[in-house]
Symmetry: C2
Subunit: 81 residues, 2 copies
Amino acid sequence: ADLAAGRAKAVQCQACHGLDGIAKIPEAPNLAGQNEDYLVKALNDFRSGARTNEMMSMVAKPLSDADIANLAAFYHSLGRQ
Amino acid sequence: ADLAAGRAKAVQCQACHGLDGIAKIPEAPNLAGQNEDYLVKALNDFRSGARTNEMMSMVAKPLSDADIANLAAFYHSLGRQ
């Protein structure tokens, strides 16, 4: 996975999840240091519709497999803070 | 919410999520310090079937509203580590 590409892609996530992975709104989870496999599954499930959320179902739809791998690697890399 | 009751209830969660909220298996998310509102929603969604997971759909089913509130408060209280 490409961390720099993940960080760039994460710009669209930051309003809710923070660019540091600490959520800005109470309904959103913190992502910093989250397990990478879990994050990949969550994004895959939102993209496929297996898991639904008003915001996430919309933003996950256009992600490629590489986007998902890069985003998961980026948020995992932030470490728990 | 009752943190002590949440901690007691969390004994059944620890094999995957850790009693310290740091997951023991890569497919499970870390929960330590996670936003409380998010955790309540996740457990409600697993209980109702709005969100599904082989393990979580099973273990969330018998939880009461109080169990969910207590578990969410307990894992949130652990803080990010």
